[in-house]
């Protein structure tokens, strides 16, 4: 049983999904989804413990040893991402229950939770596998479920947002498929470790290079890295807000994980960064991303859209850390994957609470928000400070690590630009906080001036996430050492 946990982590939510359809009952499917997520969380936690104490897990799926069969390859990096995905899923699921009641028709609830389970297990499947083609398959599982979840948004623009994402996502997935095809032609294998061993001896180095570029572009589309982020803003804005909170913390992070795996484990550090592709293309894209997207976020009036652009900007930080390609830079990038997931999910949950009570997230139309929803506002402020990178929040840990790493490499300009972009975060978060605290009710009807907080079942998970964030902000060593271990393993190749 214990040895089978890696497989069960995926299979339990997979099996739970059809069960939800069988029951066709809102509450029942929520309970099933939550139970399955909790199980995955437990399994991910056990796996992480095992990886950190005993060592890397290589699990033969279906009994065939790699490279003939498909295997799971779990080291510190993907064990942490597994924990992140299943953890965020659990927390946001609790939150989702009430939120979804307002945003999705009751008859569709069981489908909603089915899709949620599919999405989560698809993401877990991408992360856990050690087989290149398998990544593609599970990418599609999670993508289809994501398109479905986004299309359930109550605004009709959710449909077009979902469609746009589908087009971009399919192009990305097709690019990855092409890349894997070229890799197979060049190496004759699909297992990641096997590929990495065979690449240096391959007679088809051009094919390897093209495979590298296509996988890189394909994954960058899925990860919404600037300038391939066009799908993200509308998708995050019009999806049911619980879905946005879930995706913001998991989907793009998983894609970044895939990027890391391909760059460092499969192609290898020397290959990836010897081709001038990364330093020449990726770093400018990252920097342009976090500067421009922070600027765009400043001018957004819809909170969800603002946070969506902010996400693209924050992904830029992560990519910048990766592009440093040093132990310190990689550590900073990985730790920001975890930290930003915590912060951004919490922020979207706070916005969801506002939407739940106020009915919209349009900043200029708020009034008396702090008086009406003090707990939500406080949560938003704390998480916002985390986004800015104030000390004792997670944002500070990762920003500090990132700036230190870039200064260490002597990349002063990057460090300076990161700071400029942080200042923009002060502005866009500050604008919201200002409205929350100071915008008086213009209609001045005394009866609405009372407190009307979101339900406890939404506040509690949000605060749980905030507390986790604060904990890792104060005890940053916990995440940093994890990320450091992962970075070390990545730089060492397989």
């Amino acid at each position: 049983m214990y040895e089978q946990l890696p497989a069960l982590m995926i299979l339990v939510p997979f099996t739970a999904a059809p069960v939800c359809v069988v029951f066709r009952h809102a509450l029942a499917s929520w309970v099933i989804a939550l139970a399955a997520s909790l199980f995955s969380l437990f399994a991910a936690w056990q796996v992480l413990e095992h990886v950190r104490t005993v060592g890397i897990i290589r699990y033969k799926v279906g009994g065939w040893a790699a490279p003939s069969g498909i295997e799971y390859y779990i080291d510190t990096l993907n064990a942490s991402v597994l924990l992140l995905v299943s953890g965020i899923s659990c927390i946001v699921l609790v939150y989702a229950y009430r939120s979804v009641i307002k945003q999705v028709p009751l008859a569709k609830h069981y489908l909603f939770y089915t899709a949620w389970l599919m999405c989560m297990s698809g993401l877990l499947g991408i992360v856990i596998t050690g087989d290149a083609f398998n990544v593609f398959v599970f990418l599609e599982v999670s993508s289809l479920a994501t398109y479905m979840l986004i299309s359930m948004g109550s605004d009709r623009r959710a449909l077009t947002a979902s469609f746009r994402y589908l087009i971009m996502g399919s192009v990305g997935a097709s690019f990855i498929l092409i890349g894997i095809g070229f890799l197979y032609a060049a190496t004759g294998t699909l297992n990641m470790i096997d590929i990495s061993e065979r690449i240096p001896n391959s007679e088809s180095q051009r094919a390897v290079l093209v495979a590298f570029s296509f996988i890189c572009i394909g994954v960058m589309i899925k990860a919404a890295i600037f300038p391939l982020h066009a799908w993200l803003a509308n998708a995050y804005t019009y999806a049911p807000v619980a879905v946005t909170a879930f995706l913001a913390g998991t989907a793009t992070k998983v894609s970044l994980y895939v990027l890391l795996r391909f760059f460092f484990s499969i192609f290898g550090y020397e290959y990836s960064f010897g081709q001038l592709l990364l330093n020449g293309v990726l770093l400018p894209a990252a920097v342009a991303g976090f500067i421009l997207m922070s600027l765009v976020a400043v001018y957004q009036t819809d909170l969800r859209r603002m946070l969506a652009y902010s996400s693209v900007a924050q992904l830029g930080y992560i990519v910048a850390g990766i592009s440093l390609a040093s132990q310190a830079g990689l550590t900073a990038g990985i730790v920001h994957i975890l930290n930003h997931a915590l912060v951004k999910s919490a922020l979207f949950m706070a916005v969801g609470c506002i939407i739940y009570q106020v009915g919209h997230a349009h900043r200029p139309s708020f009034d008396d928000l702090f008086k009406r929803m003090p707990f939500t506002c406080i949560a938003f402020i704390i998480a916002g400070l985390g986004l800015i990178g104030v000390p004792l929040t997670v944002g500070f840990i990762s920003k500090f690590a990132l700036i230190e790493a870039s200064m260490d490499r002597g990349w002063w300009l990057i460090a300076a630009l990161i700071l400029v972009s942080s200042l923009m975060a002060v502005v866009y978060i500050g604008r919201v906080v200002e409205v929350m605290l100071f915008r008086q009710s213009r209609t001045s009807t005394p009866e609405v001036s009372g407190m009307s907080e979101a339900p406890l079942s939404m506040l509690a998970p949000m605060y749980l996430l905030i507390v986790i964030g604060l904990y890792f902000g104060i005890n940053g060593d916990a995440t940093l050492s994890l990320a450091g271990e992962a970075a070390e393993q990545l730089l060492g190749g397989f």
């Binding site: 398959v137 993508s143 289809l144 623009r157 192009v171 498929l177 095809g181």
Partner: protein, 123 residues
């Protein structure tokens, strides 16, 4: 010359793939985009299968007896069998979305829908 003979079928397939990709990104009609996606994906399948072909080989099905003929590589076939189903599944979801979009917006042209969306108030 030998190179051209050995590789041109790849090149043609690349052109086909790009035709599909072009339709996906250049055409405003949503259905046409999905047709382009189908074209793109089918061409990728073709690329894979091309890679598996061995001259003078046969379909990878074992025959009775001790001596087996030369087989083409079965691995791309396996992968593409999965990919075909995945591709059609994606198309199905996309088409369902298009039907819903048509119901809501009365159009299946991306530019027209964008204009309608721009006129709506912020969510």
């Amino acid at each position: 010359m030998e190179k051209i003979a050995g590789l041109y079928s790849y090149w043609v397939v690349v052109v086909l793939m790009m035709a599909g990709l072009y339709i996906m990104i250049a055409r405003y009609n949503l259905v046409k985009k999905i047709i382009g996606l189908g074209l793109f994906q089918t061409s990728i399948f073709y690329l894979y299968i091309t890679m598996g072909k061995v001259s003078g080989g046969t379909a990878p099905i074992l025959v009775h007896g001790d001596v087996q003929p030369v087989f083409s590589n079965p691995v791309p076939h396996v992968l593409i069998l999965t990919a075909i189903v995945v591709g059609v599944a994606t198309s199905a979801v996309a088409l369902a979305l298009i039907v819903r979009i048509y119901e809501e917006f009365g159009s299946i042209e991306a530019d027209e829908i964008a204009i309608i969306e721009a006129q709506e108030p912020e969510a």
